[in-house]
Subunit: 311 residues, 2 copies
C-alpha cells in the first residue's frame, strides 16, 4: 500500500514552513522560506503556492510509493474556516485580510482537498493527534509568541464561535484598569505574558534588557531585576489561565510558542502560581503541559487536518 502524505503549510509573519506529513504526524521533508510580507499579500500567496508545488514535485518522482491526501494550511490571523479565507490579519501580514487562501489554492490544485484554519487551531490539532493532548476531549492551547494566540477544544471539537473568531485568548483581560490594548480593552494578557508584553514590562520598569529573550535568559540565571519582571508576567499569565480553567473545566492547558521555550523552569513557575489561583476541584482535573509538537506544531497540524476533518 502506498504511503499517504499531506502537504502542510504554516504561514507566519516572518516565515512560511512547508512539509510532507503522514497520518502519525511524521515529517518526510520540509522547507522554510522567509515570508517577505513587505512585498504584499499577492506575493505571499504566490510564494505559498510555489512552495506547495515544490513539495508535490518531491513526490512526483515516487508516484507508486506515495499518494497525496491533500493540502492543509495554517495561517496567522483570524480565518473563516468555512471558506478558508482571512477574516482579519494584523500588520505583520499587510493586505492579508480578505485573502481567499483556500479558493486560490483550489484554482492551482483543483484535484486535491484543501483545508485552511488559523495557526493556533492547527497547533491544537497537532497536539490532539500526536502531542500533549493525545486522548483528551477538553483542552486549551496557549501560544506565547510575539503576541498570544489561543485555541480551545471542548468535547472533542474546536470552539469556533459565530464567525470563527473564538479563541483570542491573548485578549482576556487580567486588569480592567490596566494599559490600553489595541483590541479596545485594558490590561489584556498579551500585554504581560507575550514576548512583546515582557519587553513592554521591561521598558516600563526602565530595565536594561533588549527584548523578552534577554529577560527570560537573565531570569533563568537568577537576576533580581529580571525576576521582578517575570513575577509580574507569571502572575498575570497564571491569573488568565485560572480564569480559563474556571470557564472551560479543561483536562489540560498546553503552553507553546517562543516564550515557552524557557522550558521546565517556566512551566513550574506558572504551575505553582496557577494552582494557588484555582479552586481545588478544577485544579485536580487539569494538567499544565508544554506543547509537545514544538516549533513544527504549525506545519504538522496544518497537514493533519486532512485526517482530522474527513471529507
Amino acid at each position: 500500500m502506498p504511503l499517504e502524505l499531506s502537504v502542510g503549510v504554516d504561514i507566519g509573519g516572518t516565515k512560511i514552513h512547508f512539509a510532507l506529513v503522514d497520518a502519525q504526524g511524521k515529517l518526510y521533508a520540509d522547507e522554510q522560506i522567509p515570508t517577505e510580507a513587505i512585498q504584499g499579500a499577492a506575493a505571499v500567496m504566490e510564494r505559498t503556492l510555489q512552495g506547495i508545488e515544490r513539495m508535490l514535485g518531491l513526490v512526483d518522482r515516487m508516484k507508486d510509493a506515495v499518494v497525496i491526501k491533500g493540502i492543509g494550511i495554517g495561517s496567522a490571523g483570524q480565518i473563516d474556516f468555512a471558506s478558508g479565507s482571512v477574516a482579519y490579519a494584523v500588520d505583520t501580514l499587510p493586505g492579508w485580510t480578505g485573502m481567499r487562501i483556500q479558493a486560490r489554492a483550489e484554482e492551482r490544485f483543483p484535484d486535491l482537498p484543501i483545508i485552511v484554519d488559523n495557526d493556533v487551531n492547527v497547533m491544537a490539532v497537532a497536539e490532539l493527534r500526536c502531542g500533549a493532548a493525545k486522548g483528551l476531549r477538553h483542552f486549551i492551547c496557549l501560544a506565547l509568541g510575539t503576541g498570544i494566540g489561543g485555541a480551545v477544544v471542548e468535547n472533542g471539537r474546536l470552539v469556533r464561535g459565530a464567525f470563527g473568531g473564538a479563541g483570542e485568548l491573548g485578549h482576556v483581560s487580567v486588569d480592567f484598569n490596566g494599559p490600553q490594548c489595541s483590541c479596545g480593552n485594558l490590561g489584556c494578557l498579551e500585554l504581560y505574558a507575550s514576548g512583546s508584553g515582557i519587553a513592554r514590562l521591561a521598558k516600563e520598569e526602565a530595565a536594561s534588557f533588549n527584548d523578552s529573550r534577554a529577560v527570560m535568559q537573565a531570569w533563568l540565571q537568577g537576576d533580581a531585576q529580571a525576576s521582578q519582571l517575570m513575577n509580574i508576567a507569571i502572575a498575570a499569565l497564571a491569573s488568565g489561565i485560572s480564569s480559563l480553567i474556571h470557564t472551560f473545566n479543561p483536562e489540560a492547558v498546553i503552553i507553546g510558542g517562543g516564550v515557552a521555550e524557557a522550558g521546565d523552569a517556566f512551566l513550574s513557575a506558572i504551575r505553582r502560581e496557577t494552582q494557588k489561583r484555582t479552586s481545588a476541584a478544577m485544579w485536580k482535573a487539569v494538567e499544565l503541559k508544554l506543547a509537545a509538537a514544538g516549533n513544527v506544531a504549525g506545519v504538522k497540524g496544518a497537514a493533519l487536518q486532512l485526517w482530522h476533518y474527513p471529507k
Copy 2:
C-alpha cells in the same frame, strides 16, 4: 391530543420553585416554598420530592387532558449532568454536595424521565428555547445574583468541560492583583459585579448603603457616590464580558439575575463600556441583552430540558 407538560423544579439557597410547563415554556401552575436549607440536605431533598408530588397531584384530576413528559430539575451548585448529582455546592445549601438528586427522584417517580442540571445551564435552555437566545447557536448567559453564575452555549451545545464544572464565569479574574476570592484567584468578577460584590465595593469605600439594591437604586436616581461605585462595577463587568467575547465569539451575551433587574439603564451602561473594550469585528457579531425569561427562567428551563434532551 392531550397537552404535554413537564414538572420544572428550581432549587436555590432561599427558595424552591415548582411549575407545570409546556413545550413552549408556558407555565400552567407554579408554587414557591422556602428552601429552609438550614434543616439540612435530606430535608431539602424531601421538600423537593413532596413539591413534585403536589404538581403531579394537580394533573391527576385531569388525566385525559394532560400527559406528563417528565421531571426537570435545576439546582444551585456544580451538577454532574451525567449522574444528576451535586459535585459541589457552597454553604447556602449545607450538605448539598454529593446529593444524588436524580437517583433520589427516580426512586420516588420510577415511571418518569428525570433530568438534572445546574441553575444557570437550565436558564440557558430557557433563553434558547423561548427567550432572548431563540434561534442562536453561540451565546453566553451571566446570572448576576448574590454571586455570578455562567453558562455558555457553543455551536448549539452547552459547554460542560471535563466533569461538568465549566461556566464558572464569576471566577474570571478582572484584576490579577485584586482582592482574594474564595476560589483561590485574586480579583474575580464576582467580587465587583454581583450583589455581594457591589456591597463589598460600598463597604470598601465606606459608603452609606445597606446592600447592592440600595446602591443600584441610588445610582438610578443619579447619586454621586453610588455612581462612583457603579462605575467600578460596570467597568469590571464590561472587561469580563469583553474577555468572554474574545474567547467565545458569541452572537449574544444574555444578562439575568437580581442585579440585572435594574433593567435598561444598567444594560445601556454595560453596553457602552463593553463596546469600548471589544474589537470592532467581535462587537459587530454580538448583541448584549437582558434575559427574557426573567425570574421564572430557572423553573421554565428546568422543565424545558425534557424537550431539549430527547431521551
